[in-house]
Symmetry: C2
Subunit: 695 residues, 2 copies
């Protein structure tokens, strides 16, 4: 397979996925809309989401502008040191990365805020038609996001065949994802917690009651946090995994393009498999939306495995590298399954926590924290084995060059992320049907519709556990691969400058160890800042809700025609989220710069490793314990241990409230934080290499 | 200074500290005892503590026996490979280490259970006399523990001048500490949580009410957890820091004894300084017990700094190594102060959490977790800087030998632990006055006595925050130094076997990275197991308390002469603690063996580094957030945000209950767990080195 062929193939598959996205979008739009009252609520959600995105993107555009100027001036090397064409290319690629990432988020959110209304309407006709609307709505996001990633990276690489452009693009995508994920995460949990605290706890009114001033903000949060944020996050992981692989492939290629071709070919095949999975997935006769979603994933996995085997055989690719891809694919599945064990309400952990809740909230928290810490073991062990196995499998290709082994790890990440199109689709399905449920309740569409949307929603939560495990596993391998990319970049730069390169990052080197320790602390501080941000922001919002209930006559009583000022709550959540995310993001970036300028490349290597291990530890802990508490609450609500309003239920609600920012704000942002600092280290490798000289 | 002189000096200082301990013990014993009723309660606590210790030591003796046989057979090398005298020496030193450690715990607990009664009696005479009784009672423990450590290590080293004996002794001390700390931690929190849950929450009776069947177990817990467990823990850190330093000093000495002399000389001077501090510390005119305790620490620090400067000048020691010792001393103080910031009720974090508690327990937890994660940064940064600075200071002594740098880190740990005698004294003071407070309340010794013991108790809590930060910092440097000791041992063995030694532990080596990832997970799983152990055990105990209140007529009503069956609760706490600690301890040891046998020395190097970074992260998080919640509760109880029985108070109590096993069970056990696996890796270095050959 020649490079030209693979470019054409990858671009064709991307365009095909866009075609599918457009087709699904039109199909969803054609579905009947609900009555005026529901449409009105729906359009409030739409407007709120747009407002947030516009404000967020405006702010981020300024940041991206400043960053682009800094890149143009200093990266990959200061302009006054001669050739600055690379600087301009990197800056342009960076801008392109942020723009494509923002666009993917925007598309997903637009369709999600249409699809939720269509699902609400379809739900009165039964589970099968409404599932299809929700699923196809999600698939628009999946196809758009993954297609954009592949198209962007292929075009950037095809035009300018060096690492500078690809790294710039990926860094742009990541830095946007960091803000989108963290900002969206703060927004969604601010609104969720405040709405619950005043509505459910203080006043005893149901979730999604239209009297609650925060209820629209809560639904907007599902969109900006779960749809736009998550889209940007997986876009970022996907692009970063391809970037890590391409950076090392370029170092290994020596002009022939053997390895870059493999990277793009396998990635395109993953998207192709996802397209097939999305098109084929249907609800079977048993009427279970969960198995319909899982079926899509299984089909995608099988098609991908088959297609890559064929391609490897046909084009004479290196079988060892194909093996690494398959290791990634398999271990992703294993990690997804184990994370399901710790969060499923049919397994011991959730049952244990629900039972412990009978003794009070302290026991809900203690047992949940304990199982959260236990849950990290299988996933970390899985990632450790996958990384070691793919390295050892690929290292013998040329034992004298350690990059081969790291390239194997990056290909395992590509393999794990091959099914990402399907995963984004499944994940976007969740907030769509969650929103639809809200509209059904707020609009009073009846018991049957509520039952249908409840069942769609619960399927979304079950699948989410698996896909989330998958996403963390993939991010884990990706960030390990980015460590390899960093070393590769440093050594390329070392050759260029005639300096000594990096042979290793020795733990016993005090500078590396210094970086390792500081790197370990960063994800903890980062997640603490996000959670404190949610806390502070929720306090502001609770005060606003209280004000409205006190000052708007007839609101508490639900007087006809009296509506709360939804927009005020959305504004508070938006402003607060943007304010809080900036300090957290700056801290992570600042720490990288400090370590790099104090200790040079060696310290940065240790720093990245520390970030990886503690990032994985905390991301897994927070995602899994959060999911566990969520399901323990649902388990109690299903009538166990006294059901609703029992002591166990009150305790389980406390667990769920703690778990919310764990699993939806801090946990999923950590991976992005680690990816951003990894990519930043790679693009600054020349500068950090020179710092080393001064020590 | 010759080796003989330093042996005599170290042994003389140890004997002097024993002398001080005996003098204080006699002095405490001579103080007047309270009336019969209180003595009776006191002796119930005494009996309970003895029962627990006897059962624990019996069990541990069996374990130690098995371990000693295994050591004799396999370590440092399998007996069938020739010379087995070293195996016998290591096994004997191991037994000695466990015995001395057990003895230190036993002595401390015996005096603590006497001193608590004397303090209770003295409290009616005012704060000054009762403080002195409490402080001297604690000092018996401090002097005995540190004297035993120095004496043990000096004698073992003086008799058999190689690393085998020293490592065996230290491993014995650590493995006992692991069980004592974890077992005591489970016991104390089981009793504490159960007593509070049924007493305070369900029945609304005060803390330390004699009707509560768990009240004696709760007081026993303070002794077995805080006194015996903490004593074993600091004994272990202290011995491990000297061991790490001695192992590397032996590798550097080349027969002259320069470096081993320095290690023992500085360590002995630290003990001497502590003796002076303990003898001089008195309560000033302002009547503040806190400043009296702090005065002791400052005096000790100043005396140590002065004495080592003099000694270095007089005996012509290497100034760079003295510098590392001072770096350790200073950074210990800095870490103690920052950990005080996060847990003091006059600072922002505690006030913020107390304020957040007004919105419900979920916010207590969320804000506490966030500040807990933030709190790790200054301490980890301090350790990172101390390690890097002491390495870079000592490495130039011989740039071709990396052991010098690691030896510098180990000397920083010795410096940080120089004031350990004072720290143990301060720490043991806490549970003594806490127990005295319980006796005053249970025995009805009057308001004034209660006020005095309350103020003594609160001083104990304040000082605890500083000493705990100190202890974690010291443990952090010690475990980093043990990584150096591991490398040193591996390379000594490699020379012996004519194999290739270890030049580095390269993060980019997939086997090292595999170890790093698995090592990161172990402290999380370990602490989860301990906390689940507390949870399970507390459930058993709560059931027993319910049974007693239901079945014993007149108990609930407080009928004259009706006493609960205290012993039953003690038995449940004892049996449960021993059962739960074994699985957690075995997991940590088993993981080390698996990693070592799968990946050999390289994987073990990564494993230890992973253990260090995640162990520090979690230990700091758990200790600080636990202390923060404790003080937030006290802050609310002092009348803020509605005071007792307000929403804020109920939420703060939930935080405190969650924080209890964090700060008293899991947090402080993690350091010991890391020390044990580090020492185990060192003594198994030969075996892991051979495993490497098979890969």
């Amino acid at each position: 397979m020649s490079t030209t062929v693979v470019f054409v193939f990858a671009i064709a598959v991307s365009l095909l996925s866009f075609g599918v996205a457009v087709y699904f979008l039109q199909w969803v739009k054609k579905q009947p809309s609900p009555d005026k009252a529901v449409c009105e609520l729906g359009s409030l959600i739409q407007q709120g989401s747009r407002t947030f995105l516009r404000r967020e993107y405006t702010l981020l555009a300024r940041f991206a502008g400043v960053a682009a100027v800094l890149i143009a001036l200093f990266l990959p090397r200061p302009v006054w040191l001669g050739d600055y064409s690379e600087n301009l290319i990197m800056a342009a690629a960076y801008i392109l990365g942020t723009a494509v990432s923002a666009l993917a988020g925007k598309i997903g959110m637009t369709v999600a805020t249409i699809a939720n209304m269509k699902v609400a309407e379809a739900s009165s006709k039964g589970i099968k038609p409404s599932f299809l609307v929700g699923f196809r709505g999600g698939a628009v996001m999946g196809m758009a996001v993954v297609g954009a990633g592949l198209l962007g990276i292929t075009v950037v690489y095809a035009l300018i065949r060096n690492t500078t452009a690809v790294l710039g693009f990926s860094f742009g995508a990541s830095s946007l994802a960091l803000f989108a994920k963290a900002g969206g995460g703060i927004f969604t949990k601010t609104a969720d917690i405040s709405a619950d605290l005043v509505g459910k706890v203080e006043l005893g009114i149901p979730e999604d009651d239209p009297r609650n001033p925060a209820v629209i903000a809560d639904n907007v949060g599902d969109n900006v946090g779960d749809v736009a944020g998550m889209g940007a996050d997986l876009f970022d992981s996907n692009v970063a995994s391809m970037t890590a692989a391409l950076v090392m492939a370029l170092a290994l290629d020596k002009g022939e393009g053997t390895y870059t071709v493999m990277v793009l070919c396998y990635a395109a095949m993953g998207l192709l498999a996802s397209i097939i999975g999305v098109l084929v997935a249907r609800m079977g006769k048993n009427g279970s939306p969960t198995s319909a979603l899982n079926m899509g994933t299984y089909i995608t996995t099988a098609v991908f495995a088959l297609a890559t085997t064929l391609a490897t055989w046909l084009f004479g690719f290196e079988w060892r590298i194909w093996g690494a891809v398959i290791i990634g694919l398999l271990s992703g599945t294993v990690i997804g399954i184990t994370s399901e064990y710790f969060t499923s309400d049919t397994r011991k952990p959730v049952k244990y926590v629900a039972n412990a809740s009978r003794s009070g909230p302290a026991f809900t928290i203690l047992s949940g924290v304990s199982y959260g810490f236990l849950s990290i073991f299988p996933a970390i062990f899985g990632i450790a084995v996958a990384a070691m196995a793919s390295y050892l499998l690929c290292a013998p290709i040329d034992p004298s060059n350690p990059i081969y082994g790291m390239f194997g790890i990056s290909m395992a990440a590509v393999g794990m992320l091959s099914v990402v199109g399907m995963i984004v689709s499944n994940d976007a399905y969740g907030p769509i049907v969650d929103n639809a449920r809200g509209l059904v309740e707020m609009g009073g569409l009846g018991e049957k519709a509520l039952e249908v949307t409840d069942s769609l929603d619960s399927a979304g939560n079950t699948v989410k556990a698996v896909t989330k495990g998958f996403a963390i596993g993939a991010a884990g391998l990706t960030i390990i691969a980015l460590l390899g990319a960093f070393m590769s970049e440093v050594n390329t730069a070392a050759v260029e400058y005639g300096l000594e390169g990096i042979k290793n990052f020795d733990i016993l080197n005090p500078v590396v160890f210094f970086g390792l320790l500081v790197g370990t602390a960063v994800p903890a501080v980062f997640s603490a800042m996000l959670m404190l941000g949610v806390d502070r922001n929720a306090q502001r919002m609770v005060a606003e809700i209280h004000r409205q209930f006190n000052e708007i006559p007839g609101l508490k009583e639900g007087k006809e025609g009296v509506r709360p000022e939804y927009a005020k709550c959305i504004e508070i959540a938006t402003n607060g989220a943007l304010r809080e995310l900036i300090s957290a993001g700056m801290m992570a970036i600042g720490a990288t710069l400090v370590v790099g300028f104090v200790g040079g490349v060696d310290a940065v290597g240790g720093f990245l490793a520390g970030n990886i291990v503690s990032g994985l530890l905390l991301a897994l802990f927070m995602s899994n314990s959060g999911g566990l508490w969520d399901n323990a609450k649902k388990y109690v609500e299903a009538g166990n241990h006294g059901g609703k309003n029992s002591t166990a239920h009150k305790s389980a609600v406390v667990g769920d409230t703690v778990g919310d920012p764990f699993k939806d704000t801090a946990g999923p942002s950590i991976n992005t934080q680690v990816t951003v600092v990894s990519l930043m280290s790679s693009i600054m490798s020349r500068i950090f290499l020179v710092v080393r000289l001064f020590r």
